[in-house]
Symmetry: D2
Subunit: 364 residues, 4 copies
């Protein structure tokens, strides 16, 4: 099958997430990167594009128009810029009819998010958001188990995303923009809290109706939150907790999800991402592996560990299928709704924290 | 050395915690059980005492007076009744000059707690509270590490105590009184939440100044909380979370404590109670075992697992030493202050929950 | 119920395993230690007995006769001396009609073992051997699962017992006699290899028919083996491996057992002794806990860790039941047959090692 | 940088390892697959090549000549056929001056291996063997630790590779050729035993001088071994064990390596491939992660799990660097010596098993 022609905005040499997206895009052979506006610095953009052997643009607006006009122009674009730079290119490419694969969180501000939503509504192109953890096989299996009622009614949802890399004063390029309110929009809340939020929503099929948050800047002088504790209430009566921290010393990427229902419980940890613990109320815990997974979201037999790059690639492969007209798995690929939900989460959490933990409804 | 003569109130045949206390008391040979008012049902009291070969009393008041009057009367008494029946015998024995070893939580009501406090203040006898988890070797080592500054300034404290045994409607004697507000005082909050509270306080050496709580009765119609989520704030600026649940299906006794400081983090889980994870900010995580423990709170070489009964026995052995005049380790044996702190925790949590999660100061 | 009167040979102050036996004997209240020949050094024997408040003997022969003659004499005796000192007291007490609870391995030499076997055959008293690991609840459950065919036909048996404490030149009292051929009989092979051998035999219900061994003294100049690798062949066609080492740096007591059958596999590790992994051929692995155990070999609810002392106490409690006339669980208490099997294992392993790994039949 | 032009022999549609190699080759962008003789069935070869959009050959000899003659011919070829079909194409491409990346084990017979060795000796092209586990970051770090003396003198080496997928009678294409002596050469011994052998050799820097083996065909009628237990002796005096099984029910890919030295021990398991346990003799165990790794063999920050595909890609990236003239990391890429060592291992193990476990020297 002919690879889909892909463009990229951001991801110049030295970037972290751009490189991840490029590997993910090519892993299963469904995409070929052919063009990019890889940096806001024209020199760096051109050098980076040269290294990759792709068409280079100084400016994503020009790129959107030029590519849309080409016979062999890109069919999709990956946006891997800092949060505040998601909306402008997303809108430009959506308007040009080019599918958008955007890194998370959706944007730095609700206003930016609304602009993407408007553009998406008016476009025949699709919008995808790379909340990659929800594409891990055992996470997808967790969702299937919940959906088929294996847990009974859900009572408790507990999600965590813990990192320790920002335990000290901010240093380095990656840290810098992530702790800048203007560029990031929020700290731990946006960068990793939205991952936990989406993960919990994805698996449970429910979104909390109200939240109460306590946000901290544990490192003195840091202008964004680096520790976010959020209590969750669901319309169903379920309760939960979400904890995102970037000052949790020793934690590399401590993502976990625990769900307790009336019939059974599920536990999953990124540190042991290929196993899913399912504990029926009256029986022994079961360790599910890809041998039990039904999502077929992998390339190798069970026991051959797949991980971070592969779950990103799962998203890209699903996106490729959708672009090619197969919507079978569209429901499992995060998109605009997830992005807007994440923005609603950030906004409600900030509002609650400002009001000393008052319970705030989450919209949309 | 002559064993200390011990009495017991509660713990008749079929009781759970009474049997535990008896094993703990005799494990290291420091106590000999000689008398008891083992049940409020006189027949059962006598039969139970007969099985144990000890003096039987129908009534703890009579027992306190009679034993105090005997040359060979008991020197200490274990109180292992339901929560609402702690205060009366505790007061009676303290007034009789007999040391009290009381099961947790302190009492069912603040009023009862105050009566114990008054009696203790007026007595030359000591009062001990069996928050047993804090007597595990690796928990004691955790406390030593915090105390010597290995973690730097503490930023985050996360304590959990999860059980699943009350996930359905209440059945059985043990469940019955624990879900009866009059006898228990509180549900998960009191029965296991106070354990988590004491554990966190014991290890960190700090008690939260304010808390915000969300209490649930997940099982319809249950008159007490069976899931308690509590957010913690410390005077130092540290934040934390405490989660106690008795509807966490599949959890047997999921006790855990995670502490993150500016220099290092600690993680301990009851499920793996003989190991303590210490992760310095810049180095690899270390798995400490009893080979590294400095509390000498064990009987066997590292690698020979000790557990629940042994940590109870650690408390009894420390109590024996104190009774015999050696106060060296008095600081590590929970007592009245821990009990009152636990009662303050329960009261503040209930008040916060009644006020939709408002932050409430914890006293005393 | 009246406690059984117990004596002890060996176990003077400072001894390791004697103290363990004393705790185990009193844990469930079925025994009362009343007499002892606690040391071959008369002064130490008397002092130790005085500390314990029991009758003291300078000599176990005198003790056997005197206790047998007393109305209130001991009914059972624990022998907790070094290996070469098991046979003489065992024979003396068996002849005196007093039940013997002997620490493992059976003896230091086959000749000594034969003397015990003869005495046991002529005595109405019972002989028990404290291979304690086989008394852990999940090990007993493992045996029940194998017995009921849950694993199908057994193909592979893999047992390990790894320690690191003798990685350097021998130091200290405990190490000294264990590395002295005259007192210990064998090194790792006898001290811990026999544990692994008994554990595998206990759970599988099979004893290897032939073994091939490679014995090493990794520490230069050590006169006994400190690393023993043994290949196993069973009459059934099953194969296996047993590895015992005392130079496995970092291992505290790395006991493990893995069994693979045609239908399912079992895995158990002392480090996580309260869990048993059962993996059916086509299903997910199951984590069995005491909630699934059917041996009732515990005192506390699942999730409250029990361990080394408790499994020893399980043996003592079963022995008490047998002495009192209840043979229900006799089959699960190790005895003479286990001891002789262990001696056969040691002898065959030495012979194989002397013949460069030739396959040697195991007798008896 | 321009991608290296790559060819492939074997790996037609439906193949397992061919697909893995293709992903690995493209993951880091260093290779572009342009030609293939993907199947011995010409139709399937052509169809498969068509799906991949590459030049198709019916025959690898023709491919070697044609590609060598093209200006834009392949520079390297991946050989991903069954074992007995490694030698012929390897010789053909080596003679054509095209670098060979060959799947393991080297060949099905020693004669085939010798032919590759001869061809490699006469060629300016390089020969690489994809023992992929040795390219995992924590395995490379393990090797570095041993090399720098962190373990002291090595005493014990224990390697395992356990699978359960062949526990029943052979079914399916992958199983079929792997249990056919003519095509596979050996069973568990060759397919996974050589992985364990190479892994142990890679990390320790030592190869056993003598081995003693017990080979079984646990499934009745199976013409190759499905369980191989091998005892190891090193010239240094170190001992070890290697166990490979394909009937270990429930094991997906249970690869593990444990090394005990005079100063410290190392433990690594594929199931938890991103962590390496280092236990100094007197200190606590340390959990090393990629944060401590010095091989830089990864693409994502520590805590973002990488796995099987990535370690394959590590090899491809190192191969690319070598082909481009950078030999810096040549020492860590398995090649002919590893392949010949594996063949020596297989031959010696078979010979030992035929002689009832006699110790056989391993050559070369």
């Amino acid at each position: 099958m002919r690879p889909i022609r892909l463009g990229m905005v951001g991801g110049g040499s030295g970037a972290f997430i751009g490189a991840i997206h490029r590997i993910a895009a090519r892993m299963d052979g469904h995409f070929q990167l052919v063009a990019g506006a890889l940096s806001s610095d024209p020199d760096r953009a051109r050098t980076s594009a040269g290294e990759l052997g792709i068409r280079s643009y100084d400016d994503f607006n020009a790129m959107a128009q030029a590519e849309a006009a080409r016979e062999d122009g890109i069919e999709a674009v990956s946006i891997v810029t800092p949060n505040h730079m998601h909306a402008d290119p997303a809108v430009a490419f959506l308007r040009a009819g080019i599918h958008v694969i955007c890194d998370k969180p959706l944007t730095a501000t609700p206003q930016q998010a609304a602009r993407i939503a408007d553009a998406a509504a008016d476009s025949r192109a699709r919008f995808f958001l790379t909340h990659n953890y929800s594409a891990l096989p055992m996470v997808r299996e967790a969702r299937a188990l919940v959906a088929e009622g294996a847990l009974g009614d859900i009572r408790i949802v507990q999600a965590e995303y813990l990192q320790g890399w920002l335990a000290d004063e901010t240093q380095g390029k990656q840290a810098e923009w992530r702790t800048d309110p203007a560029r990031a929009g929020a700290g731990a809340l946006g960068d990793i809290g939205t991952h936990a939020w989406q993960l919990a929503s994805f698996v449970t099929g429910q979104v909390p109706s109200h939240i109460s948050a306590d946000l901290s800047s544990m490192v003195p002088g840091r202008p964004v939150d680096d520790d976010a504790r959020v209590a969750l209430r669901y319309t169903s009566g379920a309760k939960g907790g979400l904890w995102a921290s970037q000052v949790a010393v020793g934690q590399e990427n401590g993502v976990s999800l625990r769900i307790f229902g009336t019939k059974a419980a599920l536990e999953w940890r990124l540190q042991d991402s290929e196993r899913l613990l399912l504990t029926p109320k009256d029986g022994p815990a079961q360790i599910l592996t890809r041998a039990q997974d039904r999502s077929a979201s992998f390339r190798t037999p069970p026991g051959h560990p797949e991980g971070y790059l592969e779950c990103f690639a799962n998203l890209y492969s699903d996106v490729a299928a959708i672009i090619r007209g197969d919507d079978t798995h569209a429901g499992r690929v995060p998109g605009l709704a997830d992005g807007l939900s994440g923005m609603g989460f950030i906004a409600a959490a900030k509002q609650s924290a400002d009001r000393d933990g008052a319970w705030i409804p989450v919209t949309p």
